[in-house]
Symmetry: C2
Subunit: 548 residues, 2 copies
């Protein structure tokens, strides 16, 4: 943390104020991450639906155009008997086939957003890679469709069944297998919880190279299967770089034993990469080996106000240049997003006056004095050059959390009025915010946005991981409305496509984006992907109706 | 660079001395990197053979067990006519089929180590991705085998033909296509030279996330195709993390248009990863998009003497903890390797007295004062704890280069006496050096090592990228000798296999390691790899006789 005297120096010189330590910001935590809500990332909370999972509309009703593939067998008592026999323990099989187990099964049928709901009657919880192998081989031989399920914290409906696919839930495989504190190579079961693993690493001075809002529920296997991005990507890079090895099971029961702990191993095709981001469509990840860096001793957070997106870009460039190796987050939030957060939380905003844009900058490094100096010098520079108008620096852990709350709290607060149309997009940085402005204008012009109840749209907001060119375009509404959807789609996807952006930067495809992949991928690439799917899962039993 | 006063402080406190600035170490550059020698990495120079490429033994003679596959067509005048017609320019086709062009063709037939030599009579130099596509489609349709060739700087014979495979040389495709100075995304032709590209980036304050001894000759496409490791991996990670997109051509002429500039794009299988490290066996990379970080303003180098491998490990752990985000290299050299370098160069060694082990530590960061402070504090700590016995810190660019010379100069100096048996291995750090000791003991016990000419072995040395668990075990010999080989193989491979190490950490498989992949990969993994090969190259025309 910044020492008082150094922060005071910044204050005098640059008008950057510290978050009032005698009267700290009211924590946002009370409205964040309910114990039942599990999210893949900070951008996932609340789609505005309510009620228990039983009241969720079935996916098959929401998307009547998706039909159950008749090639798949229906689950019989014989199938259940087979699984019960070798999985042994009662807790490993939740059987809704031979008896009524609706209450037990529903949590595995529905997603936490309450947007997707399947019809499965069988949940299997294997306890070992061998058991996963035996399950998959049997399902493949008997044409039984399956859905691999980790923490079920995804945002695109990828981890719940659509029809009666068998859920293979990985939560019982949750052990840390090994950790080498010299190399930093960690080997874990796929079902290990991210927060548990990161806690284990913290005790040893290391850090998991990935952080997510859903860390308390999401599982490493799911993180890897969805190539989760999250909050540390700017600093530690993508999982394609940090995952050292994978153990996975193919539909035919083959165990892919690629669980290397080596940082370098140039002996053939790097097949494990295919499983990173495959969303359980070619196999089930059962184990992960990953490089875990040293944990930074010093963390600083600054919250800045800026007058234009032009200046946001200048600040980002300056931060990259001056904070360089210690820059660990550069998050963007527009004023509209902050305004809505305030309306929900009633918290006092971090800066006295309002600005069109805000940035949250985090540094993490090994020497707090050095980091403070770099941050101060950066802040002085951007204030003197009038890139940044106002700012605040956290003085303690509580303030760090509070400042992060103004960024992490956005998704949940947006759900306050009703539904949220959410887009997770990669866009070249120079044009990143234009989409928000154009969308807002379009929705306003159509007469759909306003303060009163006859307007479905509350506001159009933009925020996200500026450091990764990753924008979250969110349209907060009082209710889902076909007229709004018509204004947004295919407009947003076409806009992205023209700029060679990505229609799913970090959330993946799942069921939600399957239909739109053509906006980000050529026919050639899609054909090549289908070839891989067919190679590994020729019968198509793995997570059907989704992905490509 | 370290300021004088600060370095002096270190000196007094810890006995770390500076490299004498009035009498700098004699540069090793005069013996390194001859203009004709091109290397993939610092570990590749000199196998001890001499003479022009024409005097190299044909690969087909060295390995009589490898037979030309009769399924491939022989090149005819008609084939040559086809290529000449659409490739146009004379310089794009080196034709040894319809005329004698031996002198022009030989440089493409032989590798720089003078270890491998093919029989090709046709070299094609396409100027565009479309031309590569047309060439490959024609070759595939006509069962003509091909070898993709970049800078031809590899160490495993992967980039030269074995028999009469057509060489597709990428040197004409050498343009920088675009660079985004905000995101750092660079798009280049596959044939662009690493050093040229890095120079372009340096002018813009950025750095290519890979560095190699062969940078003056090697090409980006070849770097990516071989998943080159090199000197910056510790800091910037593997190419699997930094490559954003790839453009490649499949044997059937399909252009894989996956040249994304986005840091995040979770829309389907990450197929580009298959081409990273595929060594030209499933397609030819024609373009690369890659994330290029900010270039560090400050670089420091320290050269340390240590009394045991135990202490080397302690120093590495301390460096990781204390230098953390600025640690950019931690290289290991044993005394034997330094002794041989000195015998060849006659240079004064950096430290006064001899030590069993030496480490070269490099830091790079954005603030030289901070970096100096961190380095000093680290050095004080490891000296006080008696982990490090003696050390020297470079005071200027020349000294930085000279200290690096004692590391980078090893491979070439080892070739001074004759041939070198070279192994590029990944081993868990705790056991990394044991292999060198065991090998040395084994060779000595067999009476093969000594100072006189009747002993084929001069010495067994170990050095390498400690930071990546990557050991280079080198056996310097006066001549290649079957008795030596028998002591080394399969001993080394079995030793590695037992410890789940890699028999090729960064050099790849090529022809040299094809037979040994089973020591690092299971039968299952090899079968899965063969499946991928068959999927993309069903006729097997791409770089045959190599890889898997």
């Amino acid at each position: 943390m910044a020492s008082r005297s150094r922060v005071a120096l910044v204050l005098r010189r640059t008008r950057i104020s510290t978050a009032p330590s005698t009267n700290p910001l009211r924590p946002l935590s009370q409205i964040r991450w309910q114990s039942t809500a599990t999210t893949e990332d900070a951008e996932g909370v609340a789609q505005g639906t309510t009620g228990t999972s039983k009241t969720i509309k079935f996916t098959s009703e929401t998307y009547p155009e998706i039909k159950r593939d008749s090639k798949f067998a229906e689950i019989t008592e014989d199938h259940v008997k087979f699984f019960k026999e070798f999985l042994g323990k009662e807790a490993s099989v939740i059987d809704g086939v031979t008896k009524d187990a609706t209450d037990d099964i529903e949590p595995f049928n529905g997603d936490w957003m309450r947007k997707y709901r399947g019809h499965t009657k069988l949940v299997l919880k294997p306890g070992s890679t061998q058991e996963v192998s035996k399950i998959l081989k049997y399902c493949n031989d008997n044409m039984l469709a399956v859905v691999p399920q980790g923490g079920n914290t995804g945002l695109v409906g990828g981890s719940v069944p659509v029809f009666d696919e068998i859920v293979i839930n990985m939560s019982r495989m949750n052990q840390i297998r090994s950790f080498d504190d010299v190399s930093g190579a960690l080997v874990v079961d796929a079902g290990a919880i991210l927060e548990v693993v990161d806690g284990y690493l913290a005790e040893r001075g290391n850090i998991f190279p990935l952080d997510l809002g859903a860390k308390g529920s999401c599982q490493i296997g799911g993180n890897v299967a969805t190539n989760a991005g999250g909050l540390r990507l700017l600093r530690y890079g993508s999982l394609h770089g940090s995952v050292l090895g994978i153990e996975a099971v193919l539909p035919d029961g083959t165990i892919v034993d690629d669980l290397s702990k080596l940082r370098k191993n140039n002996t053939g095709y790097d097949l494990k990469q295919l499983f990173v981001g495959a969303e359980g469509t070619i196999g089930i990840i059962t184990g992960v080996s990953i490089l875990c860096p040293q944990r930074s001793k010093a963390v600083n957070v600054a919250f800045l106000g800026l007058e234009s997106y032009e200046k946001v870009q200048q600040a980002f460039k300056a931060a990259k240049g001056q904070l360089s190796e210690i820059l660990s987050a550069f998050e963007l939030m527009d004023n509209q997003s902050q305004d809505l957060v305030q309306q929900v939380t009633k918290n006092k905003r971090p800066l006295e006056s309002e600005h069109p844009f805000y940035c949250l900058i985090e540094t993490s490094g090994s020497n707090s004095e050095h980091d403070n100096e770099k941050l101060q010098s950066f802040l002085e520079d951007v204030m003197e050059k009038e890139i940044v108008t106002d700012g605040v620096v956290a003085e303690n852990e509580t303030q760090v959390r509070n400042l992060w709350g103004w960024r992490e709290g956005i998704p949940e607060c947006l759900g306050h009025w009703g539904g949220v149309y959410k887009y997770d997009l990669s866009i070249p940085i120079s044009e990143l915010y234009s989409l928000v402005e154009e969308t807002r204008e379009k929705v306003a012009k159509a007469g759909l946005m306003g303060d009163t109840d006859e307007h479905p749209v509350v506001d159009v907001v933009g925020y996200g991981h500026m450091g990764d060119s990753n924008l979250h375009l969110n349209v907060a509404t009082r209710r889902y409305d076909k007229k709004v959807e018509k204004e947004l789609e295919p407009f947003v996807y076409e806009w992205i496509s023209k700029r060679n952006g990505s229609i799913s930067a970090e959330h993946g495809l799942g069921l939600a984006k399957k239909a739109f992949i053509g906006y980000s991928r050529s026919d050639t690439m899609i054909a090549l992907m289908k070839q891989i799917k067919k190679l590994y899962d020729p019968k198509g039993i793995m997570n059907p109706y989704k992905y490509i």
